[in-house]
């Protein structure tokens, strides 16, 4: 592989990491509160509100049912409004975040729902309010699942970011399509695939280690 190609590869890895990382953090910041809201407003939750619960659920389902490539195009006006342009890496972060947020909200919801109700009751019995229940029980007790789910979301985002090449976002997917596929540079294709495998394994490994450290349940 020529030094030029190597530079290109390194830049693509950087772009992929940046897109995945930024949209991952945004979906964590937005998805976790959404997941909490889903669990809290559910019947028997700490702030039951059936109407809000169904409304939230419906919006999340709607976003989750749109294929990402369509979301990418459909969100162009929103992207242009937020970033100022609909082309490039920064523009890709908008649809990636909006696509991953409802996905992550559902994953967080599952972990939060698994928290033993007895623990919530114990904190209520000691005079804790809802905020104390969220801060002392729900989030810390569900943390292993919240982190494991974030790992899954990051890996999914790496895959989705390849599609963002369609709007000129750059990254590894873009490189593989333009050089590896359209210009028949098999070595680039192989290199991209190997780098992706290493990336995904690395993220998964770090995630698993972190979960193990955080998990003090039996």
């Amino acid at each position: 592989m020529s030094p030029v190609m190597l530079d290109l590869l390194i830049q693509s890895v950087w772009e992929t990491l940046l897109m995945t990382g930024a949209s991952g953090l945004i979906s964590l910041a937005a998805g976790l509160p959404l997941g909490l809201a889903l669990v809290a407003t559910d019947r028997g939750g700490i702030a039951p509100n059936p109407w809000l619960n169904s409304a939230l659920g419906a919006v999340i389902n709607a976003f989750r049912s749109v294929p990402f490539i369509i979301l990418l195009v459909a969100l162009i006006p929103v992207t242009r409004f937020i970033v100022g342009t609909s082309i490039g890496m920064w523009a890709a972060i908008v649809p990636l975040s909006i696509g991953a947020t409802p996905y992550y909200a559902r994953i967080a919801e599952v972990s939060l729902r698994e928290v033993d109700r007895g623990l919530i009751e114990a904190v209520r019995a000691m005079g804790g309010n809802r905020w104390a229940i969220i801060r002392e029980v729900l989030v810390p007790e569900a943390l292993p699942g919240i982190v494991a789910g974030f790992t899954v979301t990051l890996v999914t985002l790496i895959g989705a970011s390849a599609m963002a090449g369609a709007i000129g976002a750059g990254g590894l997917g873009d490189l593989a399509i333009r050089y590896g596929y359209q210009r028949f540079e098999t070595s680039i294709m192989v290199a991209v695939v190997i780098v992706l495998i290493v990336l995904v394994c690395g993220i998964q490994w770090v995630g698993d280690r972190l979960v193990k450290r955080l998990d003090h349940r039996v």
Partner: protein
């Protein structure tokens, strides 16, 4: 409701009408339904300062609903609940929070937070109260010493045994210096030996700190070993209430008798199955004695020859409580029964056996 207020000689007096200021909790005609089934059907109950009150009943009798009403986790449909003289019924969640801090609670499954260390668990009620960090951890250290787990302060609950977890639960419940400790089947998930050590700890805390304890359980043994008073609940009603020894010596209701069956001597099955309702041969008597009567020379003074079939003397709250099964000639019944009853025994003719049963 059957009240046990009679106090035999030499007993520590149980005053029937304590001043209201001494009541930690008072329930007045509390009702709660789940669908058509009444969970609490007009419960009135008082928990006095410094006592250990046991509430016993079968599962589904309403015990859990009752204990959850006391700290507002469950809301009654009607009736009043007073905590330290102030009514809590009708308060909203935010108004209830200060009251809940006055009531510690321990649970059957401990309910310790797995993500927090032992000392963080113990300090949690103080964190919720907004106390400074140094104070919280000093208090946690103090309480862990009290329950004998100082060396486990930095451990996580998952590394502890059941008995140790419950000790942490007790330390946590005491952190905010509550006026009342609620125990919700706290020993039901523990083995007998651990149960004894946890009960001893509760009794010790009750004595040392003067802490009022209300425990609900389905095991008479728990009430027997540490209770001062007991209330028996059945189908949402308190059916019997009194000092533990008195309820043990003279249970009034069938439900109490059946709850007691496991820990009082029962007529052995082979004798019970041979009993006939037709008078003749020997009469088999069940005799309940309490207090000094149980320790006297009653049997030696019996005017006829008898056979002691089964039974024993137990001590509840330092009171002797005896349950004896005697066989006496049927012809002598009219002498024996009045003799025993005159000495404050409760006599029950269970049936007759033909000879050497």
């Amino acid at each position: 409701m059957n009240s046990h207020v009679s106090v035999p000689d030499g007993t520590r007096a149980v005053v029937a009408d304590t001043a209201q200021a001494d009541d930690v909790v008072r329930l007045d005609n509390v009702k709660r339904h789940f669908g058509a089934t009444p969970a609490l059907d007009g419960v009135s109950l008082t928990v006095r300062k410094g006592e250990i009150l046991g509430i016993i009943g079968r599962s589904g009798a309403g015990k859990s609903t009752l204990i959850r009403c006391l700290n507002g986790l469950e809301r009654p449909e009607s009736g009043s609940i007073f905590v330290e003289g102030r009514q809590i019924t009708g308060l909203d969640e935010r108004q209830l929070q200060p009251f809940r801090r006055r009531i510690g609670m321990i649970f059957q499954h401990f309910n310790l937070l797995s993500a927090k260390t032992v000392e963080e668990n113990v300090a949690l009620p103080l964190k919720i109260e907004g106390r400074p960090r140094a104070e919280r951890f000093n208090r946690a250290r103090e309480l862990l010493e009290l329950v004998g787990l100082s060396d486990k302060a930095k451990a996580y609950p998952s590394s502890l045994s059941g008995g140790q977890k419950q000790r942490v639960g007790i330390a946590r419940a005491l952190a905010a210096r509550p006026a009342l400790l609620l125990s919700d089947e706290a020993t039901s998930a523990l083995d007998p030996e651990t149960t004894r050590s946890i009960l001893a700890l509760l009794k010790d805390i009750n004595r040392k700190l003067g802490l009022t304890i209300l425990l609900i359980t389905h095991e008479m043994e728990v009430v027997r070993s540490i209770g001062d008073r007991v209330a028996v609940i059945d189908a949402g009603k308190i059916v019997e209430e009194g000092p533990v020894w008195s309820v043990f010596a003279d249970p009034q209701t069938d439900i109490t008798k059946s709850l007691l069956a496991g820990i009082r001597p029962q007529l052995p099955a082979h004798i019970a199955s041979g009993l006939s309702p037709v008078p003749g041969g020997e009469a088999v008597l069940g005799v309940d004695l309490a207090g000094t009567a149980a320790q006297g020379t009653l049997l030696a003074d019996l005017p006829v020859a008898f056979r002691l079939l089964h039974g024993g003397v137990d001590h509840v709250q330092d009171q002797a409580v005896a349950r004896l099964y005697l066989a006496v000639p049927s012809g002598a019944l009219d002498k024996v029964v009045p003799f025993l009853e005159a000495r404050s025994a409760r006599v029950e003719v269970l049936g007759y056996v033909s000879g050497n049963a």
